[in-house]
C-alpha cells in the first residue's frame, strides 16, 4: 500500500518547476519512485507528474546531435526509427532495459536521476560523451553525464531542478557496441565502446559493476588492456557476485566488446 500523497499534473514546465522541492518530488514512470515509497524509503507529501509536459516528451535532432526530453520512455527510444538508423547502439541498449513493462513506464530522466548504479543507460551515455540539462525556476545548467552522477543514488541535481534534456553530441557520427551480463532484472556488468567518426578516439565505459561508470579514452583498440580495466573498477559486492567474480566478468566483457568493435566497425 502506498502512503498518502497529493498529485499535481501540470502541463507546463514552468508550473512543474514552481512546484518541485524537498517534499514535492518529480514523478514520471514511478518504476523507482513508487517502489521507494512502498518501501517507506521516500515519503514525499506530493508528487509532480511530468508525463503531461510536452516539452519533456520530445526526441529531436539538432544537426548531428540528438536531444532527448527528460520524460521520454525507454519504449519510445527503443522503437525510434531515426535513432536505430543513426545511433543503433542506443536502440540496442533501450530494447533491453529491464523488461517490456519497465520500458513502457520508465523514462530516461528517471533512470539517470534515481542513479541506481546498475544502469545500462548511464553507462552508454558516459561512453557517448553525453550531457544533461537541469532546469530550475531561476535558470538552466548543462553538465556532463560523468559529472552528474556522484555515486549510488546520488547526483548533483538540486531538489528544485528537473532534468529536462539529454544531449548526445555528434550522435550521427558515433558508432559503437554495448554488451552486458545480466541474469536477473538488472545488469551485473555493462560495457560500452564508442567511437566518433572513422579515426576518432574510442571511449570505453564500464558500468553497473561499481557505484559509477568508469570511462577510458584510447586512440586505438590495441591500447585496451582488459585486465587493467578490470583492476580499475570498484565492484559492489551483492547477490549477483563478489569483487573477484565481477572483475573477472569485466575483463571478459571488455575483451568481447573490443573484439565486437573490431569486427563490426572494421577497425
Amino acid at each position: 500500500m502506498l502512503p498518502p500523497f497529493a498529485l499535481e499534473r501540470p502541463d507546463r514546465l514552468e508550473d512543474a518547476l514552481a512546484l518541485i522541492g524537498d517534499d514535492c518530488l518529480p514523478y514520471c514512470g514511478g518504476t523507482e519512485l513508487l517502489m521507494a515509497m512502498k518501501l517507506n524509503v521516500l515519503r514525499p507529501s506530493c508528487l509532480v507528474d511530468l508525463k503531461g509536459i510536452a516539452a519533456l516528451a520530445r526526441v529531436e535532432w539538432r544537426g548531428d546531435s540528438l536531444v532527448i526530453g527528460g520524460a521520454v520512455r525507454h519504449a519510445s527510444l527503443a522503437a525510434d526509427a531515426e535513432i536505430s538508423r543513426s545511433l543503433a547502439v542506443l536502440t540496442v541498449v533501450e530494447q533491453r532495459v529491464g523488461n517490456a513493462r519497465v520500458r513502457t513506464q520508465g523514462s530516461i530522466g528517471g533512470n539517470l536521476c534515481f542513479a541506481e548504479p546498475r544502469s545500462d543507460v548511464a553507462t552508454l551515455l558516459a561512453a557517448l560523451g553525453a550531457s544533461i540539462t537541469l532546469a530550475s525556476s531561476t535558470g538552466q545548467r548543462r553538465i556532463a553525464i560523468t559529472d552528474f552522477v556522484l555515486g549510488a543514488y546520488e547526483t548533483v541535481r538540486e531538489p528544485t531542478e528537473l532534468l529536462v534534456e539529454v544531449l548526445v553530441p555528434s550522435a550521427r557520427l558515433k558508432s559503437g557496441v554495448y554488451l552486458k551480463h545480466q541474469y536477473a532484472e538488472r545488469p551485473t556488468v555493462g560495457v560500452a565502446l564508442v567511437r566518433e567518426g572513422e579515426n576518432g578516439v574510442w571511449r570505453l565505459a564500464v558500468g553497473a559493476v561499481g557505484d559509477v561508470p568508469i570511462v577510458i579514452e584510447v586512440s586505438s583498440l590495441d591500447e585496451i588492456d582488459a585486465e587493467a580495466v578490470a583492476d580499475m573498477t570498484d565492484p559492489i559486492e551483492d547477490i549477483s557476485g563478489g569483487v573477484d567474480y565481477k572483475q573477472h566478468l569485466v575483463a571478459v566483457y571488455v575483451r568481447r566488446a573490443v573484439q565486437a568493435a573490431a569486427e563490426d566497425l572494421g577497425a
Binding site: 498529485l7 518504476t31 513508487l34 512502498k38 519504449a75 529491464g98 517490456a100 519497465v102
Partner: protein
C-alpha cells in the same frame, strides 16, 4: 490543482468506467478491489514477476507499481478482456492445450505479456518469445510449455497477431 483524489474516465476491456480514485491507489488495487476484476494478480509487488501485467493503450505495464489515476483517458485491457463471445482467445486456448499452467497464479500476467508481444510482433522467433517473457516468473511449468503455447497462438492468429481479438 493539488489533490489526493482525481476523477478519471477510462475504458476497461471496452467498458467505459468513470470513478473518483484516491491518487495513491495502484492500478492493480483499482482493478481488483474497485472493479472486482480479480483476474489480475499481485505477487512480488516490485515489477519483477509480471503476474500483475495489464495493457494500457496496448502497452504492458506492471499494475502493482502504476497509479490508477494514470489510466485517465486510456484503454485498459486485463485478462478478463481476452475471451470474446464466450470463446477463449487463441492464447488462452493454446495455454490450455499445451498445459502451460499448473497453479495458474502467473498465467494472467503471461497471457497479457504474450498478447503485447504478438500485437507488436505477430511472428516472433523462439528466442524473441523467451527474451520478451523473461520478466515473468512461473514456479510450476519450467517455461517450456509457455513458450510452446505462445508459438502455437502465433500460428493460429497468423499475420494479424493479437490485434484480431483486441
Amino acid at each position: 490543482m493539488t489533490t489526493t483524489a482525481i476523477a478519471i474516465t477510462c475504458t476497461v476491456n471496452g467498458v467505459k468506467v468513470e470513478r473518483t480514485v484516491e491518487v495513491r491507489r495502484t492500478l492493480a488495487q483499482f482493478l481488483r478491489e474497485d472493479l472486482s476484476l480479480t483476474g489480475t494478480k499481485v505477487s512480488c509487488d516490485v515489477q519483477i514477476c509480471g503476474a500483475c501485467t495489464v495493457l494500457v493503450d496496448g502497452q504492458p505495464v506492471s499494475s502493482c507499481t502504476h497509479l490508477a489515476v494514470d489510466v485517465d483517458r486510456s484503454a485498459v485491457t486485463t485478462v478478463e478482456g481476452l475471451a470474446s463471445e464466450g470463446r477463449l482467445h487463441p492464447l488462452q486456448q493454446a495455454f490450455v492445450e499445451q498445459m502451460a499452467l499448473q497453479c495458474g497464479f502467473c498465467t494472467p500476467g503471461f497471457l497479457m505479456m504474450a498478447k503485447a508481444l504478438l500485437d507488436e510482433n505477430p511472428d516472433p522467433s523462439r528466442e524473441q518469445i523467451i527474451e520478451y517473457l523473461d520478466g515473468n516468473l512461473c514456479r510450476c511449468t519450467g517455461y517450456a510449455p509457455i513458450v510452446a503455447a505462445v508459438e502455437q497462438a502465433a500460428r493460429v492468429l497468423g499475420p494479424a497477431g493479437g490485434d484480431s481479438n483486441a
